[in-house]
């Protein structure tokens, strides 16, 4: 009776260890595969970022975006247009006699 119980217990114990081992192996495999997938994703993201994100990434090589002048900023263009309009208006006003460079000529 006792031997049977012991044998059954040992069988169950052995079965438990087998299940536990199988579970641990499966978990490790899954973990490793997930890690690999994540690593690959991170690598892809990093590659994309170095390709397009950072304009100063090619400074050391002396090639790439650093050589390209970004152009005149919009605020400078807008200010330039405003200044040109003001100057033209002043010139026209002076030519038509609405604006006199010398003040108070209508005085004494």
């Amino acid at each position: 009776m006792t031997k049977r119980v012991i044998n059954r217990k040992m069988i169950m114990h052995g079965y438990g260890i087998t299940v536990l081992t199988a579970y641990l192996v499966g978990f490790t495999k899954r973990f490793i595969s997930i890690r690999l997938i994540l690593d690959e994703l991170l690598l892809q993201i990093a590659t994309k970022m170095t390709d397009t994100g950072n304009p100063n990434s090619n400074t050391a090589t002396g090639t790439g975006p650093d050589l390209e002048y970004p152009g005149i900023p919009r605020w400078v263009k807008v200010s330039g247009i405003i200044v040109i309009v003001v100057v033209v208006v002043l010139l026209v006003a002076t030519a038509l006699g609405f604006h006199n460079p010398s003040p108070g000529v209508h005085g004494p």
Partner: protein, 171 residues
């Protein structure tokens, strides 16, 4: 030549003093101009024009020249440079432009002040032009310059871009 931090702060303090003084003196000139326009009394008109001439020659012109000079020192003595950033370049162009207009215009103010001194009270009783256009325009430009200097909007000139690239390459 780039200034040391202590010298740079001192130069900035001097430049700010002259520049803010310039704006303040233009406001005072404008106030006298408004009283020359609005006042009906001959004595007040005469006083206003004499005051405008005095402020023009003895305060506005020296402060404008000093502000130009110290601004030039600030630009050339700091990493900002004079031609590297658009805000510095535009500030410089506007400052020189209004100084030129001021120097061209201030002799007219003198001749008018002289005319007003000699004029009869009856001629001045109706008021006289107060030179509001030039003073107001000048003040507007000075305020634009102030805003540019405070906000320092981004944007490098082609020259500044090239210089920056060369410096990066060397370091």
């Amino acid at each position: 030549m780039i200034m040391r931090p202590g010298l740079r702060k001192f130069a900035l303090a001097v430049h700010l003093t002259f520049s803010v003084g310039w704006i303040g003196s233009v406001v005072a000139y404008l106030a006298l101009g408004v009283s020359a326009v609005t006042s009906q009394g001959a004595e007040m008109v005469r006083t206003a024009w004499v005051g405008m001439e005095l402020i023009g020659w003895s305060v506005i012109v020296p402060l404008a020249l000093a502000s130009n000079l110290t601004g030039l020192v600030m630009a050339l003595g700091t990493p900002w440079g004079l031609f590297r950033h658009y805000w510095v370049l535009i500030t410089f162009v506007l400052t020189v432009a209004i100084t030129v207009v001021l120097l061209e215009h201030i002799p007219d103010v003198s001749s008018l002040a002289e005319m007003v001194r000699r004029a009869d009270d009856a001629d001045l009783a109706g008021g006289l032009g107060g030179d509001l256009f030039h003073a107001g325009g000048g003040l507007l430009v000075l305020l634009v310059i102030t805003v540019l200097n405070v906000y320092k909007p981004r944007g490098m000139t082609r020259y500044g871009w090239r210089k920056q690239y060369e410096q990066r390459k060397m370091s």
